[in-house]
């Protein structure tokens, strides 16, 4: 059974003028366990909305999203929160680290709402991404590249089955972007998590064996 199955997924936004704008219309999409897929698309085509729907941050208008055998679209909001906390990791373009917390605490926060805090594993992950000597640093004391690596460690902290990455290297320069995406892929592989990346960056997409145009997936 695929890890992620999406069927007839639709989502529309109400514009300020009151008209409906359909942004997602995906008849079918699926991902196998451990797969690493990249979706290519420019800005404003609904990539982030797509990932937010899979993560359950947004509710769908219609259609089905099944993650690890659980139908995300049939769950209440708190049910979606629970499923996200236990099965899905998320790497944001802006990293979304909490500024008042250290690197280690940020990673531990990623565990708090899911399977529980495992400080040893959090430390291991930070060492793995090369930040063993920066665990007590706050985001403002870290470089952009280091912040991105904390975000990667946090995304897999809860041992998710699926990691969603939204322009994960968007804030990095060319050199760091390549190294970062390689790290994301390695870490996901080591932790048996599938990786679904959306990006507009050809360099990032070039590192994946398979990069699909988001427009082919999304008919909206």
């Amino acid at each position: 059974m695929p890890l992620l199955t999406i069927t007839d997924l639709q989502k529309a936004y109400i514009s300020p003028e009151g008209s409906q704008t359909r942004i997602i219309d995906i008849p079918h999409f699926e991902m196998e366990e451990g797969a690493q897929i990249a979706l290519r698309g420019g800005s404003g085509v609904g990539k982030t909305t797509f990932l937010n729907l899979i993560a359950g941050i947004l509710g769908a208008d219609s259609g089905r999203i099944v993650v690890s055998g659980e139908e995300m679209t049939a769950l209440s909001e708190s049910g979606r929160d629970r499923l996200r906390a236990s099965h899905i990791g998320y790497i944001f373009q802006t990293f979304n680290l909490l500024p008042g917390y250290t690197a280690l605490e940020n990673v531990m926060l990623g565990m708090m709402f899911g399977k529980g805090i495992d400080a040893g594993f959090a430390q291991h992950l930070l060492e793995r991404v090369g930040l063993g000597d920066r665990m007590g640093y706050r985001p403002s004391q870290l470089s952009v590249g280091q912040q991105q690596r904390v975000a990667v460690a946090r995304a897999v902290a809860n041992r998710p089955r699926l990691v969603l990455a939204d322009e994960p290297t968007g804030n990095l320069d060319y050199h760091h972007a390549n190294a970062a995406i390689a790290l994301v892929r390695e870490i996901c592989g080591e932790n048996n998590a599938a990786l679904l990346t959306v990006s507009h960056d050809a360099e990032v997409l070039g590192q994946f064996e398979e990069a699909t145009d988001f427009a082919q997936v999304n008919r909206a």
Binding site: N52, S78, A85, S86, N96, F113
Partner: protein, 421 residues
């Protein structure tokens, strides 16, 4: 359990991030809680001490007039004397089989503001200021010899005046210290009493004969002026006393004497029961306590409002934080709980510091009460307000946290995940 620790961790971190507003709000809560506990605690102890404390006597017999003035003057050594009564009234009481103990007091002098009370040795040998407990002198001390110019000092008076056994002093006329009113007689301190935590601690006791013989004192026991002469015995008919302190053999005697002395007689006043006389005073000034309590409650309410305001104001800048927590899997109710817990934590911290505020107010107030009345208030004496006030304040904190918590609860995740620039 891990989740709970996690929530408290978030709360602690958040409070630290907003340390200044947390501190100010906490201090306002502390002030309100401390004030309420102090006002109610001090009032309760004061009322208890003045209405049913360590008095030891059942009634006071004195000149015709106010029962309250008589009690304040003789039991609490405050206020002026309403006048004197003849020695014969003391003797009548002393010889009355229904009276267990009658002790005469003669007032009118002071030493640097501390009252000098003339009395008999019965005060030391028979009177129990608390059940089974009599006055005791400290080491090297003894009670006075009624035939000599000797004095026994209450512990507080001795401490404040710096007088010790063997020291001499000269009394001053009147109940208020006036340097020009110095008597010539010299008295020797022969004993200092162990503390009783009662108004007696502020008194200088001398033989009643000493008051009679103090230069310038005129006795009018039989209505005529009589000036005692040195070496000559004072006839009883000339003697007078300011009051007779009474202990009855059983409580019914009070009813009977109240009827005969107060209702049928005109010569004297019996203040009985002492606690009830004082309770009437507190009833009369009860409105003042209510105002004080009301002000304290208002301080708490304002402090509760400041919790609401400070937490509420922080919500806007923390929308992204809540969105991130939600994206990490936190439920809406978790975010709600974090905010309510924050408000409760501020209230709880305020309550803890409130006990320190209480201690400070209480210490200051009890020093004043002791200096003015001799009554010692106990800082650690338990009162229900120490439980009720903290619980109410913490509940108020939780209620104050609900409004900002609802705002945080409604935070939309997707729209708040991007940084606000």
């Amino acid at each position: 359990m891990i989740k709970r620790i996690g929530l408290l961790f978030i709360v602690r971190r958040s409070l630290r991030q907003h340390a200044l507003s947390t501190l100010i709000t906490t201090l306002s809560i502390a002030l309100g809680t401390g004030l309420v506990m102090a006002v109610i605690g001090i009032k309760a102890q004061s009322v208890a001490a003045f209405t049913g404390g360590q008095i030891g006597f059942d009634a006071v017999l004195g000149a015709r007039g106010s029962q309250l003035q008589l009690v304040l003057n003789t039991v609490f050594h405050l206020e002026t004397s309403p006048g004197n009564i003849p020695w014969a009234m003391y003797q009548t009481m002393k010889n009355d089989p229904r009276v267990e103990l009658a002790v005469p007091y003669a007032l009118g002098d002071n030493y640097h503001g501390f009252r000098i009370v003339g009395t008999t040795t019965a005060l030391f040998t028979k009177f129990e200021y608390r059940d089974g407990v009599r006055f005791q002198t400290r080491r090297n001390g003894r009670f006075f010899d009624p035939t000599r110019q000797e004095a026994v000092l209450g512990s507080y008076a001795a401490q404040r005046l710096g007088l010790r056994v063997g020291d001499n002093f000269t009394p001053y006329h009147g109940l208020v210290f006036d340097e020009s009113m110095r008597h010539d007689e010299q008295y020797t301190v022969v004993g200092v009493l162990a503390p009783t935590n009662s108004p007696s601690d502020r008194v200088i006791w001398i033989p009643i004969e000493g008051i009679y013989r103090m230069e310038g004192h005129v006795l009018r026991g039989d209505g005529e002026d009589y000036v005692p002469q040195p070496g000559q015995e004072i006839p009883d008919e000339h003697k007078e006393v300011s009051a007779v302190m009474l202990k009855f053999r059983n409580p019914q005697i009070g009813f009977i004497m109240d009827a005969t002395i107060n209702k049928q007689g005109k010569a004297a006043t019996l203040s009985w029961p002492i606690g009830a006389v004082m309770a009437r005073l507190f009833d009369k000034i009860g409105w003042m306590n209510q105002i004080l309590a009301l002000v304290s409650y208002l301080v708490i309410v304002v402090a509760g409002g400041s919790i609401l305001a400070s937490v509420y104001n922080s919500i806007n800048e923390r929308r992204r934080e809540f969105a991130i927590l939600r994206a990490l899997g936190a439920r809406r109710k978790t975010v709600f709980a974090v905010i309510v817990l924050e408000a409760v934590s501020i209230a709880a911290l305020g309550v803890i510091i409130g006990f320190i505020v209480y201690g400070a107010i209480f210490t200051g107030a009890s020093a004043i009460v002791r200096a003015q009345t001799g009554i010692v208030l106990d800082l650690l004496k338990l009162h229900p307000v120490f439980v009720i006030a903290p619980v109410c304040v913490i509940l108020l904190g939780a209620v104050a946290g609900v409004v900002p918590a609802v705002k945080a609860y409604r935070t939309d995740v997707a729209t708040n995940l991007t940084p606000i620039s």
